[in-house]
């Protein structure tokens, strides 16, 4: 079972990240996935998060309790959620927007300049897909094929192609990162 | 004095047999009450319109006027207090072939049901609302309503009313009603004509009928009986043409401006829905399975029917004028 938290600030497509991943897993990777998110006025601006519980069998408890994977796209969300990441867990963070504390080896960190990559593709709005590419490559929780299949309906048709490119960009970057720093699987997974 | 009434004979012989649920007669209304006049006028209007009576539904709220739905021989619902309009809205939208008429009182429609009233008018929902306004809650014993004139005595304003009342034609007009008229229960023929017009109107139509509550409002304010009320209407009610609805408020025992204040053509809620959906979805939009050509055909047929009916009403009026049958010259 995996518990994954996506976090950032409102407008970064945090909820979309979990929706795409959840759909990919449950419809194309033959897994069970339950997605929850923070709602209401609190969810607009500030730290915003969405969560996924992924399992080989039906998910019972729908909320994440001690996530093994954290994606943090803003300083706020890093500050809020990093302490709740499981020891040995995987942290993927926005390299240009988050200044992490000194690496004490408690978790495995992977910086990724996802906003910069997205801007190179024409719009920072694609940052979430770059993020998902990294996430898929580094954690292997979800296959890239399933992720791409999940896109239609969840991103506007006219941006489908560029979103796929954004995903590929992130995926390639994720693989490079892994080569430099192989993932130690264990409790986190 | 006792009057012998053969109720079975009355039921069998009444000209109202087709329109009323005769098995439910006698009704509960007091002698001198104005509601019966409105029901008679309504039946007369339906009869004259020649419409398919199976396609008419009458919905009422609670109160004395709220009992109308139970006496008329149409599909009818006696709802909860103030909720006749949303029930009518649901029935109309679920079954757009129906002509839906709400008959209820001033307290029901504009007190507890005020929110529904203003929104149905705003949407130009294709229903007719007849409000029998007797300035009081009759069934519960003569309390203040939103239309009670200042200084009038009600059981909950025993020292005289100090609240500002609603002027219902102004309220309806301001909210977007596309047909607004007011009469008194003395003016039965005008009510009939107005109801016929409203039956033939597409959109939210509102008819206010000022009527006496002899048992409570009249008595509590020492205004005499039903006949005295009609005398008052005769003296103080007059037809006003081209009057601004802002000017038709009613003071205690003051002038009553009557007439058809508003009549305008504007797409109804359903028409607006159809147009918007059809614009966006084209032929994929088929409300209850009706295709665009079918909808257009239906709209055309209805428009023709309305035009025919209007012509008939115009002819009748001209004939009556010619024969000097006593319709108010300034009539509708």
């Amino acid at each position: 079972m995996h518990e994954v938290r996506f976090s950032g600030f409102g407008g970064q497509g945090i909820v979309r990240c979990a929706l795409i991943t959840g759909k990919a897993l449950s419809m194309y990777d033959d897994k069970f996935a339950t997605m929850t998110q923070s709602f209401g006025p609190e969810a607009r601006g500030g730290a915003c998060s969405s969560q996924l519980v992924v399992s080989e069998s039906r998910v019972l408890y729908p909320y994440v309790t001690l996530p093994g994977v954290l994606i943090a796209l803003s300083q706020d969300s890093y500050n809020t959620y990093e302490p709740k990441l499981r020891d040995g867990g995987v942290l993927i963070y926005e390299a240009d927007l988050v200044t992490p504390k000194e690496d004490d080896g408690r978790v495995q960190i992977y910086p990724a300049p996802v906003t910069r990559f997205a801007e190179e593709l024409g719009n920072r709005l694609f940052a979430n897909l770059v993020t998902l590419g990294c996430f898929s490559a580094i954690t292997k929780i979800v296959t890239p094929e399933a992720m791409k299949k999940a896109l239609p309906g969840l991103v506007p048709d006219r941006f489908l192609e560029v979103n796929r490119k954004a995903f590929d960009k992130g995926y390639a970057y994720g693989l490079e990162s892994l080569e430099k720093k192989p993932l130690v699987t264990g409790d986190a997974q | 004095m006792s009057i012998e009434v053969n109720i079975d004979k009355f039921r069998a012989d009444s000209p109202m047999t087709d329109f009323l649920r005769m098995e439910r007669m006698p009704h509960i209304w007091c002698p001198g009450c104005g509601i019966g006049t409105v029901v008679n006028s309504f039946a007369e209007a339906v009869k004259k319109s020649g419409m398919d009576m199976d396609k008419l539904a009458v919905i009422s709220g609670i109160g004395c006027t709220g009992r109308v739905a139970g006496y008329v021989n149409f599909d009818s619902i006696h709802t909860t207090h103030g909720r006749a309009i949303p029930v009518a809205t649901g029935l109309k939208l679920a079954n757009p072939d129906m002509k839906v008429v709400v008959v209820s009182g001033d307290g029901d429609l504009t007190g507890i049901g005020g929110n529904h009233f203003i929104h149905a008018a705003r949407r130009n929902m294709d229903i007719m609302v007849i409000c029998v306004n007797n300035f009081t809650y009759g069934m519960t014993g003569g309390q203040l309503t939103p239309t009670t004139p200042q200084t009038a005595n009600a059981s909950t304003t025993p020292y005289g009313n100090y609240e500002y009342p609603f002027s219902l034609p102004f309220l309806a007009d301001a909210c977007g009603a596309t047909y607004v008229a007011r009469w008194t229960s003395l003016h039965a023929r005008n009510i009939t004509k107005s109801i016929r017009e409203a039956l033939n109107h597409k959109g939210f139509s509102f008819i206010e009928v000022i009527a006496p509550c002899t048992t409570l409002y009249q008595r509590r304010n020492r205004l005499g009986d039903g006949l005295d009320a009609l005398e008052y209407y005769k003296e103080e009610a007059g037809v006003e043409k081209d009057v601004d609805t802002r000017e038709v408020g009613i003071d205690f025992q003051g002038d009553i401006a009557m007439g058809r204040f508003v009549k305008q053509d504007k797409p109804t809620y359903e028409e607006a829905v159809n147009e918007r959906y059809a614009n966006v979805l084209g032929d994929d939009y088929q409300l209850y399975g009706m295709s665009k050509p079918e909808r257009e055909e239906k709209a055309k047929r209805e428009a023709e029917d309305r035009a025919k009916m209007q012509a008939l009403m115009d002819d009748e009026e001209a004939q009556m004028m010619a024969e000097d049958m006593g319709v108010d010259e300034e009539g509708l």
Partner: protein, 388 residues
Amino acid sequence: MRKTAADPKGVLEGSHFLDGDHAIAEGALAAGCRFFAGYPITPSTETAERFAERCPGVGGMFIQMEDEIASIAALVGGAWGGQKVMTVTSGPGLSLMMENLGLAVMTETPMVIADVQRAGPSTGLPTLPAQQDMMQIRWGSHGDYRIIALCPDSPQECFDLTVEAFNLSETYRVPVFIMTDETVGHMHEKVVIPPAEDIEVVERNYYEGPKADYRPYKFTGKDVAPMVKAGDGYRFHLTGLTHDERGYPHLTVEQNEKVVTHLIEKIDSNADKIIQLDESEMDGAEVVVVSYGITSRIVSRAVQLAREEGIKTGSMRLITIWPFAEKRIEELAGKVKAIVVPEINYGQMVREVERSAAGRCKVVSVPHCGGAVHDPEVILDAIKEASK
């Protein structure tokens, strides 16, 4: 009752990643609902939004009313206009609906009301889950009556049970509630919508016979009279007053007894047919956890932990909340040491369990305030304590 396959037009066949609120709208469309009147309220609004988006394409009508009072009132009109109807709401809106819930009950008008529960009282915690309206739907409208209520624990069940709710409401001419909550309402999971031919739909039972003989009611306490729809020439009359078989007011104590007994008995006498339970490992159980909705999923984990610790623990999930499974609880109470009832309220359905158990076993309430689900450990502790 005429059962047919669903109209393919309303069935979005296939696998989807949906939240519970959206799944309810799909369930309604699959069941043949073509009229929705509602008022926005967190956390239920997504159902209205989905219906508004989908209905023009399937030939349905959506209207956003001025409030929840009007919404449920419009359903009464809509149902007798000839459509299958629904609305959705949450606590504050549910309170407003109580008035015309009574009208629907009294006029025996079929409709489906989804209540996506949030924490109260009053405005409470609008964006967080609770199970605090369980008694309100049962008792909230004045007078004696019965309704049916179903409680989904997942988006998939939101779809399945909404179809079932429409079928029950047509069968018994009664308002049927879908009692879900913010968590299930907003949780996304895979929802499989079967092909239309595999979805069983109960069509409205319309009267066919001489017009003069039509009676909108029969007070048998077993079944209900067929309906008609406006415009078909039956000149029906409905009233919230105590009425006779014609629907005319009949204001006597005797008639009131006849009507109210019927309203109660038509549900109670069919309770065995209506009630659905999901039981696991009940044989030889010392402790049984009775739960419903989202809490059942938390319970699954607690029960797993308890079994690992060697406590013989059974689990009963109430899919049908009302009518309450009193016979089954009574039967269980004679066999087990204790029944544990966790719920996201300060003890509502546990009162029904206590009433049914009638002292034959321990009944342990595990209350939780609104706004969050239980910690499974808390339920585990209660199971352990109860097993002693």
